[in-house]
């Protein structure tokens, strides 16, 4: 009796070994016949990381490219623009997706590691300012946003708490008497950086000169808000309460539908309120619009044929990939600018 039980166990373990061994066998076959799949003779690896906003565009390009080139291993990830540049400047990735231009510290890190990059603009995205459909407000100016989200708003728990500051900044919006529930992306996110850069930075600079805030606070938001790397979490927090406020990428806000309300935004208090749409983002009239980029490691592009073929392919189908991801495509002249920057292998950033 016991003998039989033991044999069953032994058999089970052996069969697992057999499974693994046969699996290893497959692996060898694949390596041998790898070039046979697809029509390209290309082989190699391409690693893309960076902005979660740009990820769907790069993913679409990678999928279409992989279908035609079976021998190339591609991976695309979206931990955030900042994390992406960290890996890129450490030489761990070939392409870094970014929802803002590379910043000075990141350029320094890349220089130190001897990494030259080619900056390619791929499309536009807007940042949507969201609230609940029950919120009576329809439009916010940059001054309002600064009063609600900027560094000086720390501790504001009601919309009305921000009234005094907003009025001081010249805004005439009347805030509703609701609890202020803020949710937004965290510091690792390019959407966080862009929001500060576009909406808050100018006012913060002025406030610094007036002595209202310290230098450390200029490029920050208030620290006491719910931050999440997951856009679904941000959306569901905004749905959840009447007095909610938050910001996400426009494509994500569009996918969320009517459960949240996108606010119109004006640059100056009392200025024209513009709603986010592909038209207003593309022509730049929506104040919270930004450009999306990919950064290619130049040295790797020169020695890795698969990488340069992938970027060629990416730029050829650019408009399709960008619009497929729900973003706003570049106008003709800017597409050719991007293409020539790639063909000339123009090194460095041309933005700010």
């Amino acid at each position: 009796m016991h003998t039989k039980g033991r044999w069953t166990l032994l058999l089970a373990i052996l069969s697992v070994f057999a499974l693994l061994a046969s699996a290893c066998g497959d692996d060898d076959d694949d390596a041998g016949g790898g070039g046979g799949g697809g029509n390209g003779d290309l082989s190699g690896t391409v690693a893309v990381s960076g902005s979660s906003t740009v990820e769907p565009i790069s993913s679409a390009a990678a999928e279409a490219f992989a279908e035609e080139n079976g021998g190339v291993d591609i991976s695309v990830e979206g931990p955030g623009t900042g994390d992406g540049f960290e890996a890129f400047c450490a030489g761990e990735t070939d392409i870094s997706d970014a929802s803002r231009p590379i910043d000075k510290e990141e350029i320094a890190a890349c220089e130190e590691a001897g990494i030259e990059f080619i900056e390619l603009k791929v499309g536009f995205d807007g940042i949507a300012v969201l609230t609940s459909p029950d919120n009576p407000l329809e439009c916010l100016s940059f001054a309002d946003l600064y009063a609600l989200i900027g560094p000086e708003s720390q501790g504001f728990e009601q919309w009305t708490d921000a009234q005094e500051l907003a009025t001081e900044l010249g805004a005439d919006t009347e805030f509703p008497d609701l609890p202020l529930e803020l949710t937004g992306p965290g510091e690792e996110s390019g959407t966080y950086d862009s929001f500060i850069e576009i909406a808050l930075a100018d006012i913060a600079e002025a406030r610094l000169e007036e002595g209202a805030i310290t230098e450390d606070q200029v490029e920050t938001t208030r620290p006491d808000y719910n931050s999440s790397p997951n856009d679904n979490t941000i959306i569901s927090n905004i749905e959840g309460s009447e007095g909610s406020l938050g910001w996400v990428g426009f494509s994500f806000a569009e996918a969320a539908g009517d459960s949240v309300k996108a606010m119109a935004v004006s640059e100056e208090p009392g200025g024209e309120c513009v709603e986010a749409s592909s038209e207003t983002i593309s022509d730049g009239s929506y104040p919270l619009s930004r450009s999306l980029y990919i950064y290619v490691n130049k040295a790797k592009a020169e020695e890795n044929e698969a990488l340069s073929a992938f970027v060629d392919f990416y730029l050829e189908g650019l408009t399709e990939f960008v619009e497929g991801g729900g973003y706003v495509a570049l106008p003709e002249d800017q597409v050719s600018e991007t293409t020539s920057a790639w063909e000339d292998k123009t090194v460095g950033t041309r933005e700010g």
Binding site: V16, F17, V72, I74, N232
Partner: protein
């Protein structure tokens, strides 16, 4: 639960008739325990129902396609094949590495080692290891298996993740196996020694077969424990599109179901919600299948002994 007052009345009446004291507390306690059981099952049922409901579009519309295609940025084309492959491969690594090592260590600790201060110290530490959060193992795995041994494992590969997970469940396998071996009555060992068997013969043909059902329950449940999402991501499960991820790509990029679900959950709910839910249901079904297999196997061994 609605039957409780009724049953209580029945108990009082029948106690009167039989001329004994009514066991009111005992009857109530029985129903409280039943309630605890029902509550647990209800949680599972609600979870299962809500996910099946949310994922019904995918589960009924394109289930075959869903489990046989790779990740795509288009929600209508995306599948979880890479995740299933990764999960199965990792489970195979755990079975091959953690079970022999764990059962071996348990047999040594229980049957051979003297009960000294040192073995007690080791015992306490194994129990301690079982309580360490999985993310700590993830960092260990990243440092050792994905970085230091990258020439062997191929970097952040399914092999690195499998070995890391094996190390994670090792203490649990040792503890449950040791408990099962300790539960074997000494009279069985003594009978073996009494007829002149050696220690190894006693262990092989008496102790292990007797302890096998217990060992199996503990170890297979630990294999099916796929809750190590942070570990997988730290070790390097991909969180986006990637080529590869086939069964047998041991040294390549990989994805596993828990981290795939996490990845899906970050995408827009309106288009990806059904995929997320369907992936959760598939994971639940796989875990249920593995656990049922373990229970069937245990029952077989229990009948035989």
């Amino acid at each position: 639960m609605a039957a409780a007052p009724h049953a209580l009345a029945g108990e009082v009446v029948s106690a009167r008739i039989q001329g004994r004291r009514a066991d009111v507390g005992g009857t109530l306690f029985k129903y409280a325990l039943l309630g605890a059981l029902l509550l647990t099952i209800a949680v599972l049922a609600v979870l299962l129902y809500s996910q099946v409901d949310r994922g019904s579009e995918v589960l009924t519309g394109r289930l075959g396609d869903f489990i046989t295609s790779k990740y795509s940025s288009l929600s209508t084309r995306a599948g979880i094949k890479q995740g299933i492959n990764g999960t199965l491969t990792i489970a195979a690594f755990v079975i091959v590495i953690a079970i022999p090592l764990g059962v071996g260590a348990a047999v040594y600790l229980e049957e051979y080692a003297q009960k000294t201060r040192l073995t007690r110290f080791i015992d306490v530490n194994i129990r301690n290891l079982a309580g360490v959060p999985s993310v700590v193992y993830g960092i260990l795995g990243l440092a050792i298996f994905a970085r230091a041994l990258r020439n062997f494992t191929g970097g952040a590969s399914v092999m690195a993740a499998g070995i890391t997970l094996a190390v994670l469940v090792l203490p649990i396998v040792i503890i449950t196996s040791a408990e099962a071996i300790r539960a074997v009555p000494d009279s069985i060992r003594e009978a073996g020694f009494g007829v002149g068997a050696t220690r190894w013969e006693v262990i092989r043909s008496h102790v292990l077969p007797y302890a096998l059902p217990g060992i199996l329950t503990g170890t297979v449940l630990s294999v099916a424990r796929p809750s190590a999402r942070p570990l997988l991501i730290v070790v390097g499960a991909k969180t986006g599109f990637f080529t590869g991820g086939d069964l047998g790509d041991l040294r390549d990029n990989f994805q596993a179901l828990p981290s795939q679900i996490y990845q899906f959950s970050r995408l827009p709910e309106s288009t990806w919600g059904a995929n997320t839910a369907a992936a959760i249901v598939v994971l639940l079904v796989i875990v249920l299948a593995v656990n049922s297999a373990a229970i069937l196997l245990r029952n077989r061994f229990e009948k035989k002994r």
